[in-house]
């Protein structure tokens, strides 16, 4: 069964702001989906739609087979949510908070205790368990939020910026935990973030969103093929034959060519050798998620500008006609 399904999901806020436009996608159990986009792209809005705290203005969505806008409470029994605005009680300690949410989610007292203790240990909060939350740092709060979201063993986990306040070590620890949960327990993770490097470490698939539109979706490989179809091939060689499609790049004896697939490499290398060149190293530069993301957003800006200009010219011409 697909755990998260969006069909043409749209949301227009009462002020007229179209925060989410016609997004469709489906996630399988065990997937970690990185939902990436700049500020105001519509990520948090999508998470709220998927949790039923907002009602879609168009399209529909299903989480674990339940329509969250129709039966939010039922859907929440299967989901865990971490968002920056979902805080816990400052006047309670870490463990008291967890036990409170455990009982709200219907766990038995003994189960709650073992579960809370295990999560505090996993998230490195054991020493802080009996401290009041008012004495927690931002990073500790975020880790406790993750523990809170996992307390009832949810099948679907929504994470909105879960690592933004964490130090690199904790972030890595949390990422490892998320990946383990997805791999061993088959939890579906919907992860919104700006930290593209961390995203690349944990996610199995990505969606790039801007101004409410899903611009691209797929694995790193699929995105690369769609957005940056040409891969740079870097060759270090002496006596490079001139007629080959290589260009000098950077230092001496470093050459670069663009290829579409790795299948092109053997024949290119053969041609260098046959033309009298000596090859020392051959390397394909796979773009990082960051590079793909920037290429995509840059391309978009360019096409937008291109769209705007003809409009202006047309308006001018119309103006001219009238004066004549």
């Amino acid at each position: 069964m697909q755990t998260i399904i969006l069909q043409n999901l749209s949301k227009t806020y009462s002020g007229g702001r179209q925060a989410v436009r016609q997004i469709s996608l489906a996630l399988d159990p065990g997937e970690v989906y990185g939902f990436l986009g700049p500020n105001g792209a519509g990520k948090t809005t999508t998470v709220k739609l998927l949790n039923g705290t907002l009602t879609p203005s168009g399209g529909s969505c299903r989480v674990y087979g339940i329509d969250p806008s129709a039966e939010p409470a039922k859907a929440h029994a299967h989901t865990g949510v971490v968002t920056e605005h979902a805080q816990m009680y400052d006047n309670l300690t870490g463990i008291e908070n967890l036990l409170f949410y455990a009982s709200v989610f219907g766990l038995s007292p003994s189960d709650s205790r073992t579960r809370a203790a295990a999560l505090l240990r996993q998230l490195d909060l054991k020493d802080a368990a009996d401290k009041k939350l008012s004495a927690y740092s931002t990073g500790m709060r975020q880790r406790l939020s993750l523990a809170r979201a996992l307390i009832h063993r949810p099948e679907v986990l929504f994470l909105d910026e879960p690592t933004s306040g964490l130090d690199p070590e904790s972030a890595q620890n949390v990422n490892q935990m998320i990946r383990d949960l997805a791999e061993t327990e088959g939890i579906t993770v919907f992860l919104c973030t700006h930290q593209l490097r961390y995203a690349q470490e944990v996610c199995t698939r990505y969606g790039l969103i801007d101004e409410g539109r899903l611009l691209a979706s797929g694995t790193l490989h699929e995105l690369q093929k769609a957005i940056m179809p040409e891969l740079p091939l870097i060759v270090r060689a002496e006596h490079m034959p001139h007629r080959l499609p290589f260009q000098q790049a950077g230092g001496e004896n470093i050459y670069q060519a663009s290829i579409r697939t790795e299948d092109e490499i053997p024949s290119l290398v053969r041609q260098i050798i046959e033309g009298g060149g000596d090859v020392y190293s051959v390397e394909v530069k796979h773009p990082s998620l960051e590079e793909i993301y920037f290429t995509l957003t840059r391309d978009r800006k360019r096409t937008e500008n291109a769209e705007k200009t003809p409009g202006i010219q047309q308006a001018r011409e119309e103006g001219k006609e009238r004066t004549i």
Binding site: T53, T83, A86, F100, S103
Partner: protein
């Protein structure tokens, strides 16, 4: 009752008792109304000079409220007809303090959103919030009653050498009218506070609840409204029905979206 709802109620109770400022403001009104005012009234009744006008006024009263001396008649009147009205004020005050902070407090501290992601429906969250405020106000008002009874009986015994007998007004007020009025106040304030953006704003809304009770007190003092037991009983039952209706409709047409604004 639902396990999860009980958990929310317990948590809200702790939230109040752990907050010293809130807890003190919860206690100050009951202390004034159950210790100072009754003490003062009885002292005045004791040291009041024998006055003919007052004597004539008292003779207008039904025979059932006459006691052996004028002093005891006045004290009995205060005890059975004026003090019970305080037990409408106490639960309204107590519940408004708690109810006002229940939604808005959670909104301000960003804990409401977390609660909304729980498997409780909006209706259940409203019910939990209402019950917590209601139980708190009933606890405060029962403790206040015990304190007041002790203070009044002790003072009357020391000054006049006898004890007062509570009239039938007391059980009707304490067990019917006061819980019903407090439930009405709580549901209205919780609904209002769900919309309000700050604790102050929602407490201002609560002030309106006090006005009818103040009128009742003024009425009692001036003798315009010497409510008979049957009218009191009927009024109480009406309030109970209204309270139950409001409790059922508590969540009303609220949506998550309205609460998170």
């Amino acid at each position: 009752m639902n396990h999860a709802i009980t958990a929310v109620i317990k948590k809200d109770f702790r939230g109040i008792t752990a907050n010293r400022r809130l807890f003190l403001s919860l206690l100050i009104v009951p202390i004034v109304l159950t210790v100072f005012l009754p003490g003062m009234f009885i002292t005045i009744a004791h040291f009041m000079p024998e006055d003919e006008d007052l004597q004539m006024l008292l003779e207008l009263l039904p025979r059932s409220s006459w006691a052996s001396t004028m002093e005891l008649t006045v004290t009995g009147l205060i005890f059975n007809n004026i003090l019970p009205v305080f037990f409408l004020m106490i639960p309204i005050m107590a519940s408004s303090i708690m109810a006002a902070s229940s939604f808005v407090g959670e909104k301000e501290k960003h804990t409401l959103e977390t609660l909304l992601y729980s498997p409780l429906t909006l209706g259940q969250i409203f019910q939990a919030k209402i019950l917590a405020s209601f139980l708190m106000s009933m606890t405060v008002s029962l403790i206040s009653f015990v304190v007041m009874l002790t203070v009044v009986e002790l003072e009357v015994f020391l000054l006049m050498g006898t004890l007062l007998l509570p009239s039938a007004n007391w059980p009707v007020i304490l067990l019917l009218l006061s819980p019903a009025v407090s439930m009405i106040a709580v549901t209205l304030i919780v609904r209002g506070s769900a919309k309000a953006q700050s604790v102050e704003e929602s407490q201002q809304g609560a002030v309106f609840m006090i006005i009818p009770v103040l009128l009742l007190i003024v009425g009692q003092f001036t003798g315009v409204l010497l409510v008979s037991l049957w009218i009191l009983l009927g009024l109480s039952l009406l309030c109970v029905l209204l309270a139950l209706f409001l409790l059922k409709k508590a969540a009303g047409r609220f949506t998550y979206e309205m609460l998170l604004q």
